[in-house]
Amino acid sequence: MEAVTAESSAVIEFNEAVKDYGGNRRIGPVNLKIGKGEIVGFLGPNGSGKTTCIRLILGLIRSSSGTVKVNGFDPIANHVEALRHVAYSPELPNIQTFLSPRELLNLISHELYFPDNADRRSEIDQVIELVGLHDYAETKVGKLSKGMIQRLSVAQALVGSPKTLILDEPMIGLDPAGVAHFRDVFRDFASHGKGTVFMSSHIMSEVESLCTSVAMIHHGKILFKGSADEVVGKVLDYSLVELETTPLSPQTIQQLKEIPGITQINIADSGKKDTTAIEITVGEHDQDIRPLIADIVVKSGAKLYTIKQGENMLERAYIEALKEKKGGQL
C-alpha cells in the first residue's frame, strides 16, 4: 500500500486525471499538486470542473483515466487511508434536516470511530463554540438559516482534528462578521504549516487575503497554479495605483503621465465633495512608483488623501485569464 513519503510530500496530487461524463462533458486532464501547509484557492467559472475535482479528491467519483492521490493513497481503492485526516465542507450543504447540529456532529464523530467519552463531547462543544453555533446546538437543521447551515458545514469538517480541509465555497451565506471569523479559523488551521486547506471560491478578495497560492481551472484544465502575486504577474502586464486627492490641475496630470511606466490615467468622481479618484495604470508592475506620484501631487499643492496599490488584482487577472483563454493559450 502506497503512502506519503518524504519524496512525495504532496497531500493532494492529480496526475493526468480525467473524468469523462459521456457526451461532451469531460473534465481534465488535470495535473495539480497541493503540498502540506498550503492554503490553496481553487478558482474557476461555473462548470469549469472545480466540484468534479473535489469529488475526485473525496473518492465520491472515479477518474476515467489518470490518477488522483490523497495522502499518497487512491481515495477510491483506499478510501479510509486516503481520507483519514481529510475533512470536507460542501457548498450549500445538504445536511440531514432531522438532526440538530450536536446530533450531526455526534454522528460524524461516531462515523470517525471516536469513542463516546468526555473528550469527544468536549471536542464537539469546542467546535460548536468555534463556529458560533452555541445558541443553535439543539435546533433541528431544518429550522436553521442558510448562514447557520454553512457554519455547521464547516463545524462538521472540523470534528476529528483533520489535517486537510477541503472547502467548497465556505463563505457563502455568511454575514461579514462570520466571513472575518472563518477567515481567522482557516488561517489558524493552516498556521505554521500544520494544516492544508484546499478551498474553492468565487470571492476573489477572500482568496487573495487568505490563500498562499491559487489554482485556476477552466474547461476542466488547470490554467495556472502559484501564489496570487505570481498569477497576477503571469496574467496581467500592468499594475494599478489608486489615489484620492483634491482635483488636480492639467499640468499635474501631465507631470504624472511623464513618469516612466505610466500608460494610462483615469480620473473619476470619488463621490466625496472636492475629492477625485484617480486610477493610474503602470506598464511594468514590479516597480513601485507610488513615492514619485505622491511627490508630484503634494508639490502641486493638491491634498493627497490616499495612495495605494490597486486592489482586486487577482479578480482582474482571473477575468483577464478567462478572456485570453477564449482567444488562445495563457
Binding site: R55, L58, G59, L60, I61, R62, H79, V80, E81, A82, L83, R84, V86, A87, Y88, P90, P93, N94, I95, Q96, T97, F98, L99, L107, I108, H110, E111, L112, Y113, Q156
Partner: protein, 287 residues
C-alpha cells in the same frame, strides 16, 4: 470491532432517518388498522364463516389469521416502502455525499443502511404479531398455540427479506425513490397477479408447467413460508378458514424449496445492490 460500531452507527442513523420521514408513523397506523379491523369485522359477521359448532375449535386460533392475511400483502409492501427509499432518498436529498466524504468504507455504510431499514421492518412485524394476538384475544377470547409465534416471526422476517432486498437494490440502481417504489411495487403486484392467473390456469388445464412457473415467482416464495410453517402445526379445523381468507394457496412444495427460492432472490438482489454501490459514482443531489 470498530467497523461493527460504524455499521451500527449507520443502522441507527437509518432508523432515525426513516422515522423522521414519517414513514414509520404511517406504517404503524396502517398496522393498527389492518390488525384490528379484520378481527372486528369477523366478530361481527363471523358466524356465516365460522359456524357455532366449529367456533370452539377455530376461535382460539384466530390470532394466526392476521399473520396469514397481513403477511403476504401488507408486510411485503411495508418492506418495499422502507427499503426502496433507504438509498435513493439519500441521493435525492444529497445527504449521502456528506457521510461518504468521511473516511468510512462504503461497505460499512450500505450494510448499516440495510440493517437499519430491516430492523425497522422487524419492528413493524413485531407490532403486527402483537396486535394480531391482542385483537384475537379481545374479540374471540383466549388464544392457543402461541408457541408458534417465534417460528412465524422468523418465517415472516425471512420471507419479507426477499422484497426488502429487491426494493433496496432498485433504490440503489435507480436512485430515485418514487421510481424505486413504483418498480418494486410493480414487481410485487405483477408477481402476485400472475401467480393467481397461473394458479387458475393450472386448475383449469392441469398442466404442471403453470404450477412450476408459479413456484418460482417471488411472491410465491415470499408468501409460502409462514403458511408452510404454521399450517401443519395448527388444528385441521382451521384449514377451511385459512383457505377462505388466504389470498392464494401456497404454491411452493416444501419449506426447503421456499427457503432456497427466497435465498436466491435475496442474495442476488443484495449482491447487485452492493456491487453497484461499491463501484458506481456517488450521485449528486437531484434537482
Amino acid at each position: 470491532m470498530k467497523r461493527a460500531e460504524v455499521i451500527f452507527t449507520f443502522a441507527r442513523y437509518e432508523i432515525k432517518r426513516a422515522i423522521a420521514r414519517k414513514k414509520v408513523l404511517a406504517l404503524v397506523a396502517f398496522t393498527i388498522l389492518l390488525t384490528i379491523l379484520p378481527y372486528y369485522a369477523l366478530s361481527q359477521t363471523g358466524t356465516s364463516i365460522i359456524t357455532a359448532a366449529d367456533a370452539p375449535y377455530v376461535n382460539p386460533y384466530l390470532w394466526v389469521l392476521a399473520v396469514i392475511l397481513v403477511g403476504p400483502l401488507f408486510l411485503n409492501f411495508t418492506a418495499i416502502l422502507i427499503a426502496a427509499g433507504s438509498m435513493s432518498e439519500e441521493y435525492e436529498q444529497g445527504t449521502a455525499e456528506l457521510l461518504l466524504s468521511k473516511p468510512v468504507r462504503r461497505s460499512d455504510y450500505i450494510t448499516g443502511k440495510f440493517l437499519g431499514g430491516y430492523i425497522l421492518f422487524l419492528f413493524i412485524l413485531v407490532l403486527t404479531l402483537v396486535l394480531s394476538i391482542a385483537s384475537a384475544f379481545t374479540f374471540f377470547g383466549v388464544q392457543k398455540d402461541l408457541y408458534l409465534i417465534p417460528g412465524l416471526f422468523v418465517a415472516q422476517a425471512f420471507s419479507s427479506l426477499l422484497f426488502f432486498s429487491l426494493a433496496f437494490m432498485l433504490g440503489e440502481l435507480i436512485r430515485r425513490s418514487s421510481l424505486a417504489y413504483i418498480f418494486s411495487s410493480a414487481i410485487f403486484f405483477s408477481s402476485f397477479i400472475i401467480s393467481l392467473f397461473l394458479s387458475a390456469i393450472f386448475r383449469f388445464t392441469g398442466k404442471v408447467v403453470y404450477k412450476t412457473v408459479q413456484m418460482y415467482l417471488p411472491t410465491s416464495a415470499a408468501g409460502s413460508l409462514p403458511v408452510q410453517y404454521a399450517l401443519p402445526r395448527l388444528p385441521s379445523t382451521l384449514s377451511t378458514v385459512l383457505t377462505f381468507v388466504s389470498t392464494s394457496t401456497t404454491p411452493a412444495s416444501t419449506i426447503s424449496f421456499s427457503i432456497e427460492i427466497l435465498l436466491v432472490y435475496t442474495i442476488v438482489a443484495i449482491a447487485i445492490a452492493a456491487a453497484y454501490f461499491l463501484h458506481a459514482d456517488i450521485s449528486r443531489k437531484l434537482s
